[in-house]
């Protein structure tokens, strides 16, 4: 079968109002390559929304002079999406709490990273021109 790869790369201001459009764009690309309905309705939109809101709210602290860079590549095997902000970054290992434990269940925050990890096959963080989160999801 012919190898098809779709890619999108863009910069957005640090404003949460942009999130829904970006998520729709990436999800549409996955739909074009026949990703599973569950992935299109749950895994991709929720994990990507978390990554973008983390970058805007915590990475860039909603500063209007800072931008978030998004790069998504989709083919019939996997989606790889990178979200970069201009913040100082954080340690993935120490930042994640268990929001399902009884003492945390009533917390209003702390579920973002947990959901990214549960809904994607891998979540990595590295420094490369800013703070970058890379998420990978295998097509099913």
């Amino acid at each position: 079968m012919e190898h098809v790869r779709l890619a999108v790369e863009l910069d957005i201001p640090s404003d949460v109002r942009y999130i829904e459009d970006i998520v729709a764009m990436v999800t549409r690309q996955c739909a074009q390559l026949s990703y599973a309905p569950r992935q299109l309705a749950l895994n991709v939109p929720v994990a990507l929304t978390e990554a973008l809101s983390n970058a805007i709210l915590y990475g860039n602290r909603e500063r209007p002079d800072r931008h978030v860079h998004v790069r998504a590549e989709v083919d019939r095997e996997r989606l790889v999406v990178e979200v970069s902000d201009e913040g100082t970054g954080f340690d993935l290992e120490t930042s994640e709490i268990d929001p399902t434990s009884p003492e945390n269940l009533l917390r209003e925050d702390g579920r973002g990273l947990f959901l990214m990890r549960r809904l994607m096959d891998s979540v990595e963080r590295f420094d490369d021109r800013g703070n970058v989160i890379r998420m990978t999801l295998r097509r099913s």
């Binding site: 569950r38 709210l57 269940l105």
Partner: protein, 110 residues
């Protein structure tokens, strides 16, 4: 994405149309808190027209649940599709909320 609110008997029914995410969660919170302030005590949030919910949206539901309970009220959720049910199960919030399959069953449960 928008929220519509109407009364059904003595229950305030909120329909979430579109996504419940970081960009609009405060709007939902404020609408419900306004009704709570007016003296309403029974709330049903219906997700039959909802796309996806992020952690901020879940956080607002937890917050509302606590505030409504503090005022002696009750909150029910209804019409979660399979993907939303999975989200609640992953986060174990299905153990925190009373979730009904349909709006009618949720209304009957008050």
């Amino acid at each position: 994405m928008s929220f519509s609110i109407r009364k059904q008997g003595d229950v305030v029914v909120v329909d979430v149309e579109g996504q419940l995410i970081v960009g609009n969660r405060q709007e939902l919170k404020q609408k419900v808190l306004d009704e709570l302030e007016k003296g309403e005590r029974k709330f049903l949030i219906d997700f039959s027209q909802t796309g996806y919910i992020d952690s901020s949206g879940l956080g607002v539901l937890v917050s509302l649940s606590k505030k409504i309970r503090e005022q002696g009220g009750e909150l029910r959720l209804a019409n979660l599709n399979d993907d939303l049910k999975t989200l609640f199960e992953l986060t174990k919030l299905d153990t925190l909320f009373q979730i009904a399959d349909t709006r009618e069953r949720a209304l009957e449960s008050f």
